[in-house]
């Protein structure tokens, strides 16, 4: 059953179609990868799903419900959380406060502050940041800031998590740790839709991959299918 569906999703910036008539779906429990050359519209598609932008035209449905045009905080509370390509932590707030915000505001039912701080502490353990709880977020390494963003997103108790280049800029060890984290998140029953440039990661982790090029979906399939697809190789190698 699809948890997320898009029909004819389109977004123009001036005369340029950043995302053009894209149909897509993500099934419950899947890890779906979104790849494509720079400027192909991947992050724009994420912005459309998380309501930072509104598609025009196009419809986006979450669990069968039309969520097009809702405000970002509503979408978050319904169960769609995201991280950002250019890490956007709350730099001068402590690591714990960053996550606490998600627990306090990101769920539909809300929780008491005691519950929220228990939840936040648990999540910091999950992403292995318990040691730096009181550190201001700006003092973390890039890899840890990315983990913090994941924890903050998880604090909103999402059913669907959008990861925008979680592994970009990380060294091989950190990439391996991030891949392990993604698998553990799926183990919690959370569906994952991820943009990634690190091919090794995406090929290993994803059940299915979608390829965007100039805002259009040009291919979709299992990692093996994508790796051997002529169109995809042409787009990437320019052959």
């Amino acid at each position: 059953m699809p948890i997320l569906e898009g029909e004819g999703v389109t977004k123009y910036f001036g005369g340029l179609a950043a995302v053009s008539n894209v149909d897509f779906h993500v099934d419950q429990g899947e890890i779906v990868g979104l790849i494509g050359p720079n400027g192909s519209g991947k992050t724009t598609l994420f912005n459309l799903i998380s309501a930072a932008l509104v598609p025009k035209p196009g419809v986006i449905k979450f669990k069968g419900e039309n969520i097009t045009g809702l405000q970002p905080h509503k979408i978050c509370r319904m169960g769609v959380a995201r991280t950002f390509q250019s890490v956007e932590v709350f730099a001068n707030m402590s690591v714990l406060e960053n996550v606490l915000l998600g627990s306090l505001f990101g769920t539909l039912t809300g929780m008491s502050s005691a519950e929220a701080s228990r939840e936040a502490t648990k999540l910091l353990e999950f992403v292995e940041l318990s040691m730096v709880k009181t550190t201001p977020a700006k003092d973390l390494t890039l890899a840890n800031q990315k983990r913090l963003e994941v924890a903050r997103a998880l604090a909103t108790k999402p059913e669907l998590l959008l990861l925008d280049e979680l592994m970009a800029g990380l060294n091989p060890t950190e990439v391996a740790q991030a891949m392990e984290l993604v698998t553990r998140i799926r183990g919690e029953g959370i569906t994952i839709f991820m943009i990634e440039h690190v091919m090794k990661a995406i090929m290993n982790v994803c059940d299915r991959i979608m390829v965007l090029h100039h805002g259009e979906k040009i291919a979709e399939g299992t990692p093996e299918e994508i790796a051997t697809s002529r169109t995809v190789i042409e787009v990437y190698l320019g052959a």
Partner: protein, 324 residues
Amino acid sequence: MDIISFISKRFWVLGLLFVVLVALAALPLYASSYWVVRFTAILMYILLTASWATFSGPSGYMSLATAAFFGVGVYTSALLGKALPLQLVIVIGGLASFCLGLLVGALTLRLRGIYFAVFTFGLVLLIQRFLLWLEMTVMRTRGRILDPVADNTIYYIMLAIFVATLLTAWLIGRSKFGLALKSIGENEEAASHTGVNVTLVKIITFAISAVFMGAAGAIMAPKWVYIDPYIAFNVLLSFIPVLMAIFGGLGQLYGPIIGAALFAYLQQELQESEFSEYYLFIFGGILVVAIAFMPSGLVGLIQKLIQLIQKWRKGGTAEQNANT
């Protein structure tokens, strides 16, 4: 920090606050009316600054609407002062400002940075000019006369509003709304994607901070006896809280409070000194120096000093250890 020193520190802070409050409450008993009047003004500046900092400090939205909210309070007092009991007038003044805050917030809090500041300042001028026009063309009298109120009464009401302001500021600061406001100041987009209804949080806190500004205006009006749009919507009142808060240091509640207290005292002293002619000039000079050399305000300077002393003491003990 271990538990015992934490508790004892808390005890000292609470004790100190209590002593200050008692001293302030008993002021008319031991001080001349001259000092009561001066303290009324100081309390007013502190509460305006603290309520300004409650919203603008963490959110990073620089509001210049303080004079508008204050002026609404002044005019509420001028219009209703003769008909209703004073306490009720103060409450209505605060509520009127709250409503204006909601309205202005809903209209402008989508604007960011400099646009928000300019709009809020425009609001002050707009209301001031509109009232002036109304008085000149429709009522054909400029300004209003109020029944005077005893200095001590004004002082006690100002003290009550002052306590309410600081209490509210403190409660907001440590509540989840305070955290949300801080996250908005850090990164509004990320905050909204983390489930914070950023528009709502901004509008509500903005309007709450306006309540105290309005109430302060409502009690200052009878002190002035005569008021007109220029006095009520004095544009300086939009800027002074900002300067005082920056002077004291944003980030912590006590920064703006200390800043405003010192600043207001200094202003009064300069106004009364032989330099009264140049007081704004000297004032400006002090401010420029303060901002140039203390980017995090007085509080930042004090924290730096404490760090230096601790370092020096640590260094001292280390040396002693090395010698033995």
